[in-house]
């Protein structure tokens, strides 16, 4: 199995083998962050540009840490203070970054498909760090990496994704990846936040969290993005917590070793209680650590693919 793609745009576009190659490569990279000198020279002389059109701290910092541990140079562009404010188009911005001889653009954008469009327009690598409601591939890869590390496999696992499925790129990328690797995925949300025809992706749906918790080996609890609340379509926060919030009482009825995951940042007391977030089933901070290894693997593989072509 070798990697041939210059970009990482979404898990929809990857084969099972390609996903497994990223996970395997990430396993090797995890060790680098445990060294006293947390740096290897693999991407020395390469330049990675963080181009973020939406606010993000953890993903941007995670990519920056990953690139620096590979010895790449990292430039952060905050679009609020750049020429994007003067009306420059995305493609023009991308071509300018390419003209600076950067090697990789890591982009977050509020429009679904933005990364795909940029990748088609450029010869350099584009890594999607989240585009609209479409995909957030590295988040799903680190979720799957954590599942595999903790439970030893993905095939046959019962994984529940709980929360705002309709507006979540994290949910979409997880569904693509988990279904390809053979997990049984259930999405659980209030009816208004379940997209129609989501079953066509190979998942089951439910609006009863207690039922879902009975069989789950792991739950991935999504952030309720109340900052995107445009009024009618969102449930009341307190009402959501009562119906779907993951509490100690609810978890007590689940499998004893169920894994609780969350992509962060957590709304304590909305998606889950503090007791659960900090409890023994929670792997939320390990997800953050694993995110670095997964992003190192992705940066390394897309760089190698470009070298092969060139």
């Amino acid at each position: 199995m070798s990697w041939t793609k210059k970009d990482l745009l979404g898990l929809e576009y990857l084969t099972q083998g390609e996903i497994e190659l990223i996970l395997e490569t990430a396993e090797s990279f995890k060790e680098v962050s445990t060294r006293e000198i947390k740096k290897v020279p693999a991407l020395r002389g390469k330049t990675a540009v963080n181009l973020f059109y939406e606010p993000s701290t953890r993903t941007r910092v995670s990519f920056e840490v990953a690139a620096k541990r590979l010895s790449a140079d990292v430039i952060n562009i905050a679009t609020e203070t750049s020429s994007v404010r003067k009306g420059e188009t995305l493609i023009d911005t991308g071509k300018n970054i390419q003209a600076l001889k950067a090697d990789i653009i890591i982009m977050r954008h509020n429009c679904s498909g933005a990364a795909n469009m940029l990748a088609r327009a450029l010869d350099i690598s584009v890594i999607n760090a989240g585009d609209g409601w479409h995909e957030h591939p590295t988040q799903a890869l680190l979720d799957i990496f954590t599942l595999k590390e903790k439970l030893g496999k993905i095939k046959g696992l019962n994984v529940a994704i709980v929360g705002d499925i309709a507006h979540s790129r994290v949910a979409r990328s997880n569904i693509w990846g988990l279904v390809k690797l053979g997990a049984n995925v259930t999405v659980c949300a209030p009816e208004m936040l379940l997209p129609t025809e989501i079953e066509r992706t190979g998942v089951k749906t439910s609006s009863n969290i207690d039922e879902v918790l009975k069989n789950a080996d792991a739950i991935n609890v999504l952030r309720m993005q109340f900052e995107r609340d445009e009024g009618a379509a969102f449930p009341e926060q307190l009402d959501y917590y009562k119906r779907f919030g993951i509490t100690e009482e609810r978890l007590a009825k689940a499998k004893k070793n169920i894994l609780v995951m969350h992509p962060g940042p957590i709304n304590r007391g909305i998606e889950m209680s503090s007791g659960v977030a900090d409890g023994k089933n929670s792997v939320i901070l390990e997800q953050v650590t694993n995110g670095i290894a997964v992003r190192m693997a992705v940066l390394f593989l897309v760089s190698q693919a470009r070298e092969d072509k060139g």
Partner: protein
């Protein structure tokens, strides 16, 4: 690939490894502060065999680590065919240790250069010595081995294949050439 010659069989490999183990103990005046790090993949198997031999001779356990040098290669940018990044596992402190680095074949010396850079990222050993099963010549860097199983003059068109039971069907060292 056409097989041209069988250089070492199972017994000869065992004898070479046992002799190198004796030489390591002799040169280091015992096993104090000694540790062994093998280069993936086959260097690791030879490293483990050396540690077993040293245990038989001296009755002491020697720490063995595994080093993957992919990320330190000087030809990463030119590599044809993607190298798979494998795990580095050095679970002990190498500071102030007498470290024996082990590989199956010493050729251009570039792998050893990469391994030395990688080891220095883990700490500052008191010394680094190099043990190889086969030295086939054609060095491109000023590197030499302290312990050699067998010196084999080769041409650059030839390939030295080391097969070990841990990863291959049997223990044997062959010289092959493209047909």
């Amino acid at each position: 690939m056409k097989e041209k010659a069988k250089i070492l069989d199972k017994e000869a490999i065992n004898r070479s490894v046992m002799r190198i183990a004796h030489e390591i103990i002799e040169k280091n005046k015992g096993t104090a502060d000694l540790c062994i790090v093998g280069i993936r993949n086959r260097g690791v198997y030879i490293a483990q065999r050396l540690a077993e031999c040293i245990k038989k001779i001296e009755g002491k356990d020697i720490a063995v680590g595994a080093l993957d040098i992919t990320l330190y290669r000087d030809d990463l940018a030119l590599a044809s065919g993607q190298p798979l990044v494998r795990k580095t596992e050095i679970d002990f402190d190498i500071n102030d240790k007498k470290l024996v680095l082990v590989d199956d074949v010493l050729y251009t010396g570039r792998t050893i250069r990469a391994a030395l850079d990688a080891l220095i990222d883990f700490g500052r050993p008191k010394s680094i010595q190099l043990a190889v099963l086969i030295d086939r010549g054609h060095r491109e860097l000023p590197i030499r081995a302290d312990f050699v199983g067998k010196n084999i003059p080769t041409s650059k068109q030839e390939t030295v294949e080391v097969h070990l039971e841990e990863s291959d069907a049997s223990d044997v060292v062959l010289i092959t050439e493209k047909e």
